[in-house]
Amino acid sequence: MSIPPAVLVQGLILGLDYGLLALGLVLVYRTSRVLNFAQGQMGVVAAVLVAKLIEDYHVPYWPALLLGLVAGGLVGAVTELILRRLYDRPRLIVMVATIGIEQLLFVFTLLPFVSPRHLFAPYPVPLHSGFSIGAELFQPGDVLSLVAAPLTAAAFAVFFVRSSHGLAMRAMAENRDSARLAGVWVKRTSTLAWTLAGVLSAVTAILASPDEANAFSHALGPELLLRALAAALLAAMTSFVVAFGAGIVLGVVENILLWNLHTSATVEVVMFLILLVVLVARVRSLRRGPRDEERSAWEFGSAAARITGGQVRERLRRVSLGAAALVALILPAVLDNSRTFLFSRIFVFAVIAVSLTILTGWAGQLSLGHFAFVAVGAVVTARLAGHWPLLLVLVVGGAVSALVAVVVGLPALRIRGLYLAVTTLGLALLVQVSVLNTPCARIPLTGWHVCSGLPDPASTFVGRPSLFGLSLASQRATYYLVLGVLVVTLWVARTWRDRGLARDLIAVRDNEIGAAAMGVRVTRAKLSAFALSGFLAGVAGVCFALVTQRFQASTFDPSQSILVVAMVIIGGLGSIEGAVLGALYLIGIPAIFGSTTTVQFVTSGVGLTIFILFLPGGLARLLHRAGDTLARVRLASLTDASWWTAAPGSAPIGMSGAGPVPDAGEAAP
């Protein structure tokens, strides 16, 4: 089997994009230890601007290009200035913040004064002639890529190896303190690195845009980013040469696979496997170097506030819980069908958010593909809902999803933190693009045709079964079902938090070495987190299918997973009530202001960034503060002030003073 040269050249063009993007990822990671999910989107702003200048203002190409590159650099610099506020926070949070910025930038490119008037005009290119290999025609844009991308990479390499600024960046990445002492101004240098990353991203986007049918909506989507991440990881996030080369190889491999297998679905599977192998193989070298991303403590909204316990707080909690339950029970009576549907949806998302809270908030395993587990539950429902009793469907949906989650969790025992996030994002893509969309596939090399028995991805009607003879056909009945599931979920999560399990998970998250030294079974704890979280997500998936009465592969795209991550962070990472609040906020607000994708992105992007920057404890902390204030007011009115002074733990005392140190006689049993 010989591969036509045209296939290779196409792969090369694709791979050059991956390579450039990977360069930017490695640059940012090396200088600031941030996995930058906005690496693609930063440049899209510049690419859009170039098109706008040329199309709408008739600026000649080269000046427009120059302005575009400047804009890309500016975006990079501004991003760094925003993220700088977060440098003492956990690396995972900073990474999520880059997702927020990515979404912000996306919305920014849609604004009328940024976006060109004619969205579907071909993207400007300074050349007019292409070339052909055999029957395959290559456009002028391809020529541009083939020439400009290697030149950019070479210029970048020269800068990094030869110039004193490049050397300063490398020195800073290796040993921050010593670099500072030698006179390298690390803040400026860091901004410079991000500026450079912005310019690189701009070049990538400008080169990639001519190939896209609609350059401006999703020029550099998650697929492209994931390939670039794979290339960057292959280079252990350190070597530029390897990253660029790996990008090219991945592009060529992908194109050969595509030519050979014809279905993008199978290609996606193979690419995911490559990513997985790379991660597991690289895990050792990735762990070397500063391990701050694993060490830093997490920011919790709830735990800190829970300390000021006391009966007043407890009574307040019960009253507000009761009130919330009452409102939830009455709601369907006063709402129309579509609003009832909306709240059912909010509750489903609340269940998903709680399940993610267990995995990410407590176990510290960031999942960017949580909707894949939800999809599993929905698939089970679509297959079984008509035939099996509802309770069984719920349990089976949960169980299958738990199983899938444990399988995903297995590599997570070795891959952690940032790298697990990349893996789960890959999984999300895989599930949506390949598994759900491909009920039947041809297995490569064997010629077998295999059907997975999955429901029709375009749209499958899902009937609502009855529960103990009660019909669930009405919107209202479904509402109560989902409410019931939510209540049970909350009760389960609360039980886990209060007795056992959660404390083991948090112990392992905060200090894995210490927990292991104490005898905590680290593997068991992590896998049970995956199983429990997967189970709840699967149950939520069943509800999801029942509420929407439809199974549609496109509803499970990766942006939904990101949305859930935004929920738990906006709600207050680790807090159960925060997860519910986050779902209310992110699903409720768009529902009121219209439910377009854009509005959803804005609420999550803006919300995420603002919350991460200014309200680390999220909505839950606001709630607890309000509770504290109320409790204080109530207490003052009770005139019993002695509670304050007598409260245990209200003011941590040092070991001196009352001294908790027993002498030998007392401590002996």
Binding site: L167, A179, A182, V184, V186
Partner: protein, 241 residues
């Protein structure tokens, strides 16, 4: 005075590690900070170099208040810190390490090249390994490289954290020779040492720190007589008794 530290306190979060430290070191002298692990010696050096800033008190270098100056700027005043633990740039080559050391000279190619050559002359063993990555050097060679690097700035105040840490005697010897000659050429030296013998041979003046407080401030020879201090740290007390 080359260095004056007055009333300096410092906390990591809620944990206070330095309590009102006072010390003064005259131009051209060698001072040694001694004390147990966790006494706050390295923290004090970080404050002097501007890597951290005191929560109260002030630091003056050649009369100039540097309390809130950033490390990059303090370095520009002619202060060089050699941090503890063989602080090279392990992924960069020997030559690149030295180029970073000469970062402040980057606009003057000739001076940069000259000072790189000087640095390589200090430790001839490094000259043969110009293109080798610093991380692959032996412990002693890494410390030589680190010292050569900080000396490239021709510091007037050289601050060294644990020069001899975990090194073979021969390596310590050649490092010491370089520090001595720098001092002979007029550089003021402040060093943190665990090895009392080494401190005694090198320093005129010593401070003994314990749990963030100065318990002794005076000529190094007098410190040797203070058995009560050494008793709390060193086995010498055990045998002396």
């Amino acid at each position: 005075m080359a260095l004056e530290v007055s009333e300096v306190s410092f906390s990591y979060g809620t944990r206070q590690v330095l309590f009102g430290i006072d010390l003064a070191l005259a131009e051209g002298r060698v001072g040694a900070l001694l004390g147990t692990n966790g006494a706050g010696k390295s923290t004090l050096l970080r404050l002097v170099a501007g890597l951290d800033h005191p929560s109260s008190g002030s630091i003056r270098i050649w009369g100039r208040d540097t309390t809130d100056l950033e490390a990059e700027a303090v370095g520009g005043l002619g202060v060089a810190l050699l941090p503890g633990g063989r602080m090279t740039f392990p992924g960069l080559t020997v030559l690149e390490n030295l180029r970073v050391g000469g970062h402040r000279l980057r606009r003057d190619r000739h001076r940069l090249q000259a000072s790189i050559d000087e640095a390589l002359d200090l430790f001839p063993v490094l000259a043969g390994r110009r293109r080798q990555r610093a991380g692959t050097l032996s412990g002693g060679e890494q410390q030589m490289l680190a010292l050569a690097r900080v000396l490239m700035a021709r510091p007037r105040l050289l601050v060294i954290d644990e020069l001899s840490l975990g090194l073979a005697p021969r390596a310590v010897e050649s490092l010491l020779a370089v520090v001595r000659s720098a001092n002979a050429a007029g550089t003021t030296v402040l060093l943190v040492e665990q090895s009392v013998n080494l401190a005694v041979t090198l320093a005129d003046q010593a401070w003994f720190l314990e749990r963030g407080r100065v318990l002794f401030d005076g000529p190094t020879r007098e410190l040797l007589g203070r058995d009560d201090l050494l008793r709390s740290v060193f086995l010498a007390a055990g045998t002396g008794a």
